[in-house]
């Protein structure tokens, strides 16, 4: 069981998380944990989740992301999912996955722009 480390960085006044390519459930849960702690620590305005490296997005991941977005929302922030791969988008759509309250952006730059304007 590979534990791929997740790091949360603060960029301007938003949180940024770069998700590794094939995260297992433990890593995804860890991600949620770290985000929530960071939100509290830094009083960030929002969260950018960079999933440009992610190849497989299953229901657990989607659920966790949706939950995270909801929690971030409760803490006063916005969430943007950035850089979803086309193949992931098609599969996720067919599977019927939704990302809840989260917004989407083509890449991290646009995500930051989006959050900056909010």
């Amino acid at each position: 069981m590979a534990v791929e480390s997740v790091s949360v960085v603060k960029v301007r006044d938003v949180l940024m998380v770069t998700v590794p390519s094939a995260p297992d459930d433990a890593t995804v849960s860890e991600l949620q944990d770290q985000v929530l702690h960071a939100m509290a620590d830094y009083e960030a305005k929002g969260l950018v989740l960079d999933i440009s490296a992610v190849e497989i997005l299953d229901s657990f991941f989607a659920r966790t992301v949706a939950e995270t977005a909801q929690m971030v929302g409760l803490m006063g922030g916005e969430t943007v999912i950035a850089g979803m791969r086309p193949s992931v988008a098609i599969t996720a759509t067919q599977l019927g996955l939704t990302l809840g309250k989260a917004n989407t952006a083509l890449d991290v730059e646009r995500a930051l722009d989006l959050l900056g304007g909010l």
Partner: protein
């Protein structure tokens, strides 16, 4: 009367001398007759004068009791007439009659009488022989002969026995069924067999018949005959010599079978063999273990070999690119009795080609599979042509889903023609790839050129919009025709959050407006 001597012989002396002589002769006769094993009865017109002991024994009387008896009483009533006749007629040839014993029992007998006369006196000497045993033996022989005739007469094949002189000694009735001529015709005409033989085979038959007369071992011959009705039939002939217990030649026995049907089948097989051999399709036959037991020339050439010997005995996996596929084909073949499909074949030099294969199971008369047979056609060229066409279709598909980057941030996809499920999926992939690579925020999908779509395609279209959104871009649907609008509405899809416009131009205006806002 001359008297030489002065011996005075009176007539009375002469009579006495004669009587002595007769007595001596009688005694001598009696002695002779006693020595005889045959029963002898001396009688005058059936009145018994003398009998010997053998006669008394065979008839069960005391000797003395028989003298003076009416001989006819010794004959069974059924035979009395013939005996009386023969006695009266002086019949001297042997004949059969049934005799009657003292105890009332009867037995068959051979009678032979001889008339003996001396002067005016005539007596008959009759010998009686009990032929019970001989009669039984004769009946047994008759019985076994009858049984033999039954076996021979009822054999299916036509049996005959030719004697040493070339004459037919026996002909079984089956000759009628086989030749149309009855046995009488053969018995009367020993040359009949040669006469009904086909002109071309006659010489061979003549030679055979000449040969068989001299040879001891079994001989065989096949020849054609013309039946009485004019039909041509094939005869399978087998013969061997007949010898008696002492080894003397009693002629030759032959068995003739109608081989017309078998010959016809042989001919059929030869025709089929020739058809297979000369077929331009490659043909291979294997046993149930897969070992190749026959290939035609076309197969040899198709696979780049020089001779069938290079192929026979080998297993099919040697001749294909992916050996595992052979196992699957054989499994399905054994299950369904036939298999049609394509395989990639491998030649002797290792090069490959695509072969279309039609395989079937060959069963014996009882329905059990005994062979697998396959017919091959090289379809490499045809497949290449097909692949070309498919590739071109793909290209056409690609062309018909052009993704145009109008200017920075906007991608337009004008769709033309029918939008089927497959094309819609292709569209989604291409679109999303284009969005990611051009980093466009907006995509316009114009369906003016699409008359109708089915529900599945409509679903795909909606899914595409969702996927585009997941990427972070947005999609505008323009040129929605009434028919498509209907389908979407009937699907119950919520289009409230999808921007649609009736024309591409209108859509572009919206797009520019959105972009303008962002700047």
């Amino acid at each position: 009367m001359q008297t030489k001597e002065q011996t005075q012989t009176t007539p009375a002396d002469e009579v006495s001398a004669l009587r002595h002589r007769l007595a001596r002769l009688q005694a001598r006769f009696r002695r002779l007759s006693e020595a005889s094993f045959e029963a002898i009865i001396i009688h005058r017109q059936a009145r018994i004068l003398e009998v010997n002991q053998a006669a008394a024994d065979v008839l069960g009387y005391e000797r003395s009791a028989m003298v003076g008896m009416d001989g006819l009483n010794l004959v069974a009533p059924a035979s009395r007439e013939i005996v009386r006749e023969n006695i009266a007629g002086g019949y001297e040839k042997p004949y059969e009659a049934t005799m009657l014993r003292a105890d009332g029992s009867t037995f068959p007998a051979d009678l032979r009488g001889k008339v003996v006369s001396s002067g005016a006196d005539t007596v008959r000497v009759t010998a009686v022989r009990d032929i019970t045993e001989r009669k039984q033996a004769r009946q047994a022989l008759e019985e076994s002969r009858r049984r033999f005739r039954t076996v021979a007469d009822f054999t299916y094949d036509w049996e005959y026995w030719i004697g040493p002189e070339g004459e037919f000694l026996y002909v079984s009735p089956a000759c009628q069924r086989i030749t149309g001529y009855d046995r009488q015709a053969f018995l009367e005409n020993p040359q009949l067999l040669q006469q009904i033989t086909h002109r071309d085979d006659r010489a061979a038959l003549e030679e055979h018949l000449q040969h068989e007369a001299k040879r001891d071992e079994p001989l065989f011959l096949e020849f054609r005959i013309s039946t009485r009705a004019g039909e041509e039939r094939w005869i399978e002939h087998a013969c061997q010599p007949v010898k008696d217990d002492e080894g003397r030649r009693l002629g030759r026995r032959a068995s003739n079978r109608d081989a017309t049907d078998r010959k016809a089948m042989e001919q059929e097989l030869r025709v089929k063999e020739s058809a297979i051999a000369s077929s331009i399709n490659g043909i291979a036959i294997t046993d149930l273990q897969g070992s190749i037991c026959y290939v035609n020339q076309a197969f040899v050439e198709m696979w780049g070999y020089n001779d069938v010997s290079e192929v026979l005995g080998r297993l099919p996996p040697d001749f294909v690119e992916r050996p595992r596929e052979v196992g699957q084909v054989i499994e399905e073949l054994l299950d369904a009795s036939s298999w049609v499909g394509e395989l990639q074949a491998k030649r002797k030099d290792g090069s490959t080609f695509i072969v279309q294969l039609s395989a079937s199971l060959v069963a014996d008369a009882g329905g059990r599979p005994i062979r697998m047979m396959s017919s091959f056609v090289d379809v490499t060229e045809a497949r290449h042509a097909q692949r070309q066409i498919a590739r071109q279709a793909e290209e056409i598909l690609e062309l018909s889903t052009p993704v145009i980057e109008l200017w920075e941030g906007i991608v337009v996809v004008p769709l033309i023609g029918t939008l089927d499920s497959r094309r819609a999926q292709r569209l989604a992939e291409d679109l999303l790839d284009a969005i990611a690579s051009t980093q466009s925020d907006l995509v316009l999908v114009d369906v003016t050129g699409v008359p109708t779509i089915d529900t599945q395609t409509a679903r795909h279209l909606i899914e595409t919009i969702t996927a585009v959104r997941l990427l972070g871009a947005d999609m505008i649907l323009t040129g929605v025709r009434p028919a498509i609008a209907q389908t979407i509405v009937h699907l119950g899809l919520d289009l409230s959050n999808i921007t649609t416009r009736s024309s591409l131009a209108a859509g572009l205006r919206v797009a520019l407006g959105i972009l303008g806002e962002g700047m």
